[in-house]
């Protein structure tokens, strides 16, 4: 009897053990067969009201807002794909000044998207044949303390859009967007735009970096190249510090409109198709652009790729004196 009981007990324990292993195996297999190897996490249109982590694969199917007070953490290696929704179809937002027709990630709380050099975070279109503007933007509205690091952003209307937002954008890669980054301050938001744009590759977009209305970005050590319309476009009321960038092979390297404070030093600005720098109508202030490399030491050749007071008396003058006699070392993004 005792033996039987012992046998029963041993059998029972073995059974329990097998069940436990089976259960653990099931849990493990579910964990392993999660989004990375199978189904992505689907995020429908809505508001994220608590701290949230995104990892592996995420598909966004409409405007998603991170509410004030909440933080979205995006883990290294995460792929976030935005479904191309009907223009304005799902965007039921009355505040049209600050939004886009297609799906966007609206950040009123905070986003911390920090990949690594080997495991970048991807924000892109969910389409099989993606196009620029398949989705709206990572859209920062009246928010502080945001970080995008080692992220790849592609096929957005505006990759990173900022109305009154504070963000560090470092070591990211923006390509095939309508505009890579756009920012301005708006009256209704208390937060003013403060952006540090460092060590990024901004290449093959419609436009590169656009800023206006009271913004003061620091733009350093970026590769800004092959953008179809412009590399950098500074507009009225903004102040920018632009140093140690490569601004090359864009249609126009830099365009300026009504900017009073623009510091442009120690950059390589060359081989832009139409002009290396074009002062637009309304840019009546002079621009200090000394100590840059223009691709040549021939003053006439440098001048030929600049549009300023010499072409139009109403414009300011671009001072390119004391130009570098060879490419500025250390400029551009880290490889």
């Amino acid at each position: 009897m005792e033996i039987l009981n012992v046998t029963k007990s041993v059998k029972h324990r073995a059974f329990t053990k097998r069940m436990l292993f089976a259960f653990l195996g099931m849990v493990l297999s579910f964990w392993l067969a999660g989004p990375a190897s199978g189904k992505p996490m689907i995020v429908e249109k809505g508001v994220i009201k608590s701290d949230t982590v995104w990892e592996k694969e995420v598909v966004v199917r409409g405007d998603v807002e991170i509410a004030r007070g909440s933080t979205l953490i995006v883990m290294p290696g995460t792929v976030v794909r935005f479904v191309r929704i009907e223009a304005n179809g799902l965007a039921d937002i009355p505040d049209k000044e600050n939004h886009f027709p297609r799906a966007e990630l609206i950040v009123r709380g905070k986003i911390l998207a920090q990949g690594t050099r080997d495991r970048m975070i991807l924000f892109t279109s969910a389409e099989d044949s993606p196009h620029p503007a398949d989705w709206g933007a990572i859209n920062l509205l009246d928010t502080r303390g945001n970080i995008l690091e080692f992220c790849e952003v592609s096929y957005a209307n505006t990759g990173l859009h900022c109305h009154g937002g504070q963000v560090i954008v470092a070591n990211c890669y923006f390509h095939d967007n309508g505009v890579a980054m756009g920012q301005k301050n708006v009256k209704e938001f208390e937060t003013k735009c403060v952006t540090s744009i460092l060590y990024n590759r901004i290449t093959g977009n419609g436009g590169g970096v656009l800023f206006g209305k009271g913004t003061s970005p620091a733009i350093s050590h970026n590769e800004i190249s092959n953008n179809e319309f412009y590399g950098i476009f500074g507009k009225k009321g903004s102040v920018a510090n632009v140093r140690y960038n490569n601004v090359v092979r864009n249609a126009k390297g830099i365009m300026l409109y009504a900017m009073e404070g623009f510091r442009l030093r120690e950059n390589n600005i060359s081989d832009n198709e139409k002009y290396n720098i074009s002062l637009l109508e309304g840019q009546t202030w002079d621009v200090d652009a000394r100590h840059n490399w223009w691709g040549t030491t021939d003053k006439e050749k440098i001048k030929n790729l600049i549009w300023d007071k010499d072409q139009d008396e109403a414009l300011g003058r671009l001072d390119f004196s004391d130009f570098a006699d060879s490419p500025v070392e250390g400029a551009g993004a880290l490889q």
């Binding site: 223009a87 304005n88 049209k96 000044e97 600050n98 939004h99 886009f100 027709p101 297609r102 196009h131 620029p132 503007a133 209307n157 505006t158 859009h161 109305h163 095939d176 309508g178 505009v179 756009g182 920012q183 301005k184 093959g204 977009n205 419609g206 436009g207 656009l210 206006g212 209305k213 179809e228 319309f229 412009y230 476009f233 365009m255 409109y257 139409k274 074009s278 637009l280 109508e281 309304g282 072409q311 109403a314």
Partner: protein
């Protein structure tokens, strides 16, 4: 590479265009309304390239029936169109006894301001048709000029200055030369060459 570039240009314009109804800060879009005549096509491109190059604003050209351009601007579907002093004078129903083209220009400009809130910018220099009825144009001495609204000019503060740079630069000879060139050459390329030669872009 070229294909990719063209694709990106199209997509960039598309994405700005699709953003238009929402007025995102990425870029405002201007619409130039043109009718189907060769002069209008050339001047539409001329305005589009000049405005884009000198202000960074994206410009779309939309074709309308000759009589519908004015309405399109009035309804705010378009921002600028090209009108002729003779056509405008006839439309206003009077003052045909005034022969001096500049006087006619001043009169229609004043009337358009009062009646439609529209502003006539500097005449380009070439002669346009005297009347436009059902698409049939009758020649005469009448000045072609860009017309926009006070609202648009307020919204785009340097627009009038940029457009006025074309004032008096395209006389009849220049226009016929441009038209001749566009028979064998892309219209955009032709216009861009002209603007470059005139040191306007």
């Amino acid at each position: 590479m070229k294909k990719k570039s063209l694709f990106l240009v199209v997509c960039f314009v598309f994405c700005l265009f699709s953003a238009q109804p929402l007025h995102c800060c990425v870029g405002r879009i201007l619409v130039v309304a043109v009718s189907g005549s060769p002069e209008q096509a050339i001047m539409g491109e001329m305005l589009s390239i000049l405005i884009n190059e000198r202000t960074g604003t994206t410009v779309n050209i939309v074709e309308y029936d000759p009589n519908a351009c004015h309405e399109a601007v009035l309804k705010e579907e378009a921002d600028i169109y090209i009108n002729y002093t003779g056509v405008a004078q006839a439309g206003l129903g009077g003052a045909n006894d005034v022969d001096d083209p500049l006087e006619v220009y001043a009169l229609v400009n004043q009337s358009y301001k009062e009646k439609f809130g529209m502003v006539w910018l500097k005449p380009f220099g070439f002669r346009g048709p005297l009347t436009v009825e059902g698409g049939d144009e009758e020649d005469g001495r009448t000045l072609a000029a860009p017309v926009s609204t006070r609202e648009v000019l307020k919204k785009f503060p340097v627009l009038d200055r940029v457009i006025n740079k074309l004032g008096g630069r395209i006389d009849d000879n220049a226009m016929s030369e441009l038209m001749k060139k566009t028979e064998n050459q892309d219209i955009k390329e032709t216009v861009r060459e002209f603007l470059k030669k005139e040191n306007l872009i």
